[in-house]
């Protein structure tokens, strides 16, 4: 089947039971997407499928035929950081960083849907992404800040 990840098409032979995250991490070497529960409870594996957030651990890879999958690796590289990535750094919205790719992808989905979220919308919209290090207060600030940065960039 054909899987498009971060704009790059891949032709892969995929077994019916294989999850998207297993393919991303195990076959494509895209280990930025993390697995912390493997059962849809933590959000560490959040990716975008056609712009919508999805738990890659619960998504069958075979079901992504023809869809556009975006992962943290596609969001921005070290030289060209996405506004969300910049804001996460500026606000120190991470500690161990294990939840961070999922947090950022969930935030990207949230901002795509709601470009100017209120603080309550951020808290609600991202409450499915667990962070055991407790970076939440700074994540909220980072997401609100990134929303502003993106807005400013659009206006410019």
């Amino acid at each position: 089947m054909r899987l498009t990840v971060n704009g790059q098409p891949y032709d892969l032979a995929i077994a019916g039971h294989e999850s998207l995250v297993a393919i991303l991490r195990g076959r494509l070497g895209l280990t930025g997407t993390k697995v912390a529960c493997g059962r849809g409870e933590c959000g560490a594996c959040t990716v975008l499928i056609d712009g919508k957030p999805a738990y890659a651990c619960l998504t069958l890879a075979a079901a992504c035929e023809g869809a556009a999958v975006s992962t943290i690796e596609g969001l921005g590289a070290a030289e060209r950081l996405h506004a969300l990535q910049q804001a996460f750094i500026a606000h120190d919205a991470l500690q161990c960083g294990f939840c961070t790719p999922g947090q950022i992808m969930a935030a990207a989905a949230l901002l795509a849907q709601t470009p100017r979220p209120t603080e309550a919308e951020v808290r609600h919209g991202m409450s499915g992404n667990l962070c055991r290090c407790g970076a939440y207060p700074k994540i909220v600030r980072a997401v609100l800040d990134a929303a502003q940065r993106l807005e400013a960039a659009r206006g410019a």
């Binding site: 039971h17 294989e18 297993a22 991490r25 195990g26 070497g29 895209l30 280990t31 930025g32 997407t33 993390k34 697995v35 912390a36 529960c37 493997g38 059962r39 409870e41 933590c42 560490a44 992962t71 943290i72 690796e73 969001l75 921005g76 590289a77 070290a78 950081l81 969300l84 990535q85 996460f88 750094i89 500026a90 120190d92 991470l94 500690q95 161990c96 960083g97 294990f98 939840c99 961070t100 790719p101 950022i104 951020v122 808290r123 609600h124 991202m126 409450s127 499915g128 992404n129 667990l130 962070c131 055991r132 290090c133 407790g134 970076a135 939440y136 207060p137 700074k138 994540i139 909220v140």
Partner: protein
């Protein structure tokens, strides 16, 4: 090797030594005391040649103390950071674990169906790992000690195949009676959990000072309470896991661990290898919180499987394994009696505690904080540790003190109510100015400043005016506070090397690890400050036993205070060498040189050159400095302190508690990076909030099985639960502690959270909260009892 005879007491502490003469050379290897996770250990230390001038509050520092961004943040936000979970080796097999489906009994395995499955390359059972013991238990034992105990491991080409293989293993259990809680373990005729009995042979552990009977006799007011705390699970997002690979007789292991050197010795011992034939690596790590302090069962299993099957093997716990078999914070039952004079002066503190440990783990115990936090001449604690058929405990962020603070600080708040005294005032009246339990001075203590500035920031004294301002009539507002103490002085041994490259960039090499705390950044800041280098030119390399000098486990909040001074000493030595070389180039005396922001300048002249230019001119001459951590000051306790103030809203119809705001004031000496320190502080407050309100491992006592081994059912705080947290640090450098002035800060801020929130809930509903987590049903039950 440890010397047979205990060496004499240190000849000196942090102060400068007398110049050694041949006739009067002080001993080079001396003993010093180091407090780790609340336990004081005696360590041998080699006196460093170099004892930098302490950075006191007047020291002019530019990089240390600056809010620079976390140095590995770019890797973390781009997905480039490699965790143990991301390590893939060519030809690597994946292991899946078969776990005991009962809490006690004997297991018989039939692995034939598993071996016949596609992609399955082999299994490990008891016979493969005989003699490897963890927490006193044989690995893969067929005698079942707790539900979730590993019984067998299936290795296959992919994880999904390994799991399918594991599911095909037939496990037959010949059941036996179990004891999974205190009631069952202490009942008459209880099944034997461990061969030597159900109560730890060291129990009861009795620690006392003064005469509590006389103290209670002198008391004008006495209160007695019983408090209960739950089993809490670390729930780090990266589960325990390791990858092992053999090359001839040499073993390489990548493990998600807080201690690479501990892991190395554990593995070498179990596998009969020399230490230099085992290499343990750990780069990024998805949290530990105390549960990853040596080789995990996963590491032993990966190493043995890789040897048996001749291929690299990854063995990692899945989430359910992590929530049942990766350590936990012990539950406690604490019966507390306090005696006091009418004016609040404490005359006696008595604790009688029972702690179910699970199958083992160390005996942290809630008792010690009762001796340490408040002044009182008469204190007695008795702790009884009980074995149960559940997974062993593992230290969890301020183990013992976090549990103990809930009892002690809740009792103190109850006493304040009884006396009609402000809880803060009661604490001030019992302010300890020295370490009474060990009869020593403190290196520094600024808890009074935490009290004052915390109360100010919170508006503690005008809280009454804010009480009525809740949104709805069924919502009541309350306020509470609590304090903490924790040993955060760190100590030796710890070593570092600082190496200047030809382009002037610097590598800081030390075998410590960064759990997500920010050690990588903080150590680079210390090196950059000392070298006068640009921070961006300094890189910290951690987590490799083969390439790096020893540093101890990252536990007990000791890393900055232990490794920081070693890094500073190493950087200072490198800088001195650099200056010697640069002096000739700049035609100046060594003492005329100074460096800052990557530029070396000559005092009183315009002549300058960059560190890069100097290094480049030296060609391949490598400037290097070595540093080590010196001894701790004699007869001194080096604690960190803090005080928390909580505001909550309680819905008296549903019993739901919402924490609105926490103000957390802490004294941890010099703060190397306030931004990262605040991140630690906020994270600890959130973990404490989870402990106070939601987190509790639930077991079915009849079946002996865990009921909530998932992140869905074991509730950790989410973003929606996060209150406003105002965390800050008071005071300045503790130069008695060590020459950087920094002390530990990662654990203290979890300690006072639960009692502060409990006090606020009690204040809101007019009923004390004797048990955490304060779930809606517990709140409603207390409301009902209170009428």
């Amino acid at each position: 090797m440890a010397p047979r005879k205990r060496p004499p007491a240190p000849a000196r502490g942090a102060s400068a030594p007398p110049a050694p003469t041949e006739a009067h050379r002080p001993p080079r290897f001396v003993a010093t005391k180091v407090e780790i996770e609340g336990r004081e250990e005696t360590k041998i230390v080699e006196l460093p040649d170099r004892n930098p001038q302490p950075w006191d509050d007047a020291a002019e520092l530019h990089v240390v103390g600056a809010r620079v961004p976390r140095m590995d943040a770019v890797e973390k936000v781009t997905g480039g950071a490699r965790y143990t979970a991301d390590v893939l080796r060519p030809g690597m097999l994946w292991a899946a674990v078969v776990r005991a489906p009962a809490a006690a009994g004997r297991a018989t395995l039939d692995v034939s169906a598993a071996l016949a499955r596609p992609g399955v390359r082999g299994v490990l059972t008891l016979d493969d790992v005989r003699g490897i013991r963890l927490d006193g238990m044989q690995l893969l034992d067929d005698a079942i000690h707790y539900a979730g105990q590993p019984l067998c491991v299936v290795c296959a080409d992919h994880y999904a195949l390994a799991r399918a293989g594991a599911a095909a293993v037939r496990v037959t259990v010949e059941p036996a009676p179990h004891a999974v809680n205190l009631e069952q373990a202490l009942a008459d005729g209880a099944p034997r959990v461990r061969s030597r009995g159900n109560v730890s042979p060291r129990s009861p552990r009795l620690i006392q000072r003064g005469d509590v009977d006389a103290g209670l006799h002198d008391a004008e007011v006495t209160i007695t309470r019983e408090y209960r705390t739950p089993v809490a699970l670390h729930s780090a997002l990266e589960p325990h896991g390791a990858v092992a690979e053999w090359e001839g007789g040499r073993l390489s292991v990548w493990e998600s661990t807080q201690g690479i050197f501990n892991t190395r010795s554990d593995l070498a011992k179990a596998l009969g290898l020399g230490l230099s034939n085992v290499r343990v690596m750990k780069d990024y790590m998805g949290g530990g919180f105390g549960a990853k302090n040596g080789a995990s069962a996963a590491a032993y299993l990966a190493a043995v499987a890789a040897r048996k099957l001749g291929r690299p093997v990854r063995c990692a716990w899945d989430r359910e394994g992590e929530q049942t078999d990766a350590g936990n914070r012990s539950a406690t039952v604490q019966r507390v009696t306090l005696g006091a004079k009418r004016d609040g002066t404490l005359t006696a503190i008595v604790l009688d505690a029972t702690i179910p440990l699970g199958m083992g783990g160390w005996e942290a115990g809630p008792g010690r904080i009762y001796h340490e936090l408040h002044a009182c001449p008469n204190v007695r604690t008795s702790e009884t540790f009980v074995y149960t058929n559940t997974g062993p405990m593992a230290s969890f962020r301020a183990p013992g003190h976090t549990e103990g603070a809930f009892g002690l600080e809740s009792a103190l708040n109850a006493l304040a109510g009884e006396l009609g005294l402000d809880p803060l005032e009661l604490r001030r009246r019992n302010y300890a100015t020295a370490d009474q339990s060990r009869d020593r001075r403190y290196s520094a203590k600024r808890l009074d400043e935490c009290y004052r500035r915390g109360a100010e920031r919170f508006g503690w004294h005008d809280r009454a005016a804010r009480r009525a301002t809740t949104s709805a009539t069924h919502v009541r507002r309350g306020f509470g506070m609590a304090a903490c103490v924790w040993g955060g002085g760190g100590g030796p041994p710890a070593y570092a090397t600082v190496r200047l490259n030809r382009d002037g960039t610097a590598d800081v090499l030390t075998g410590a690890q960064d759990l997500g705390t920010g050690s990588r950044t903080v150590l680079a800041q210390i090196a950059a400050e000392t070298l006068g280098a640009k921070l961006a030119d300094v890189r910290t390399v951690l987590g490799d036993t083969e390439r790096l000098p020893f540093a101890s486990n990252s536990w007990g909040s000791i890393t900055t205070a232990s490794v920081g001074p070693a890094v500073r000493a190493a950087a200072e030595e490198a800088r001195d060498r650099l200056f010697e070389a640069a002096a000739a180039m700049l035609d100046a005396g060594v003492t005329e040189l100074s460096s800052r922001d990557g530029v070396i300048s000559v005092r009183g002249s315009e002549r300058t050159m960059t560190i890069g230019e100097a290094c480049n001119r030296l060609g391949d001459v490598m400037i290097m400095g070595q540093g080590s951590r010196g001894p701790n000051p004699e007869q001194t306790t080096i604690p960190a302190f803090g005080a928390h103030f909580a505001e909550v809203e309680v819905d008296v119809e549903t019993g739901r508690v919402r924490v609105v705001r926490i103000v957390a004031a802490h004294d941890s000496g010099r703060i190397i990076n306030p931004t990262l320190a605040e991140s630690q502080l906020e994270g600890a407050v959130l973990q404490g909030l989870g402990y106070a309100l939601f987190e509790e491992r639930v077991l079915d006592a009849r079946l002996g099985l865990p009921m909530n081994p998932t992140l869905h059912d074991y509730k950790v705080p989410t973003m929606a639960d996060a209150p406003a947290i105002e965390g800050f640090f008071v005071g300045g450098a503790d130069t008695v502690a060590n020459h950087t002035g920094a002390k530990g800060l990662a654990e203290p801020p979890i300690i006072p959270v639960a009692p502060a929130i409990a006090a606020a809930v009690a204040d809101a509903i007019g009923a004390e909260m004797p048990e955490i987590p304060m779930t809606p049903w517990r709140v409603l039950a207390e409301l009902k009892t209170a009428g």
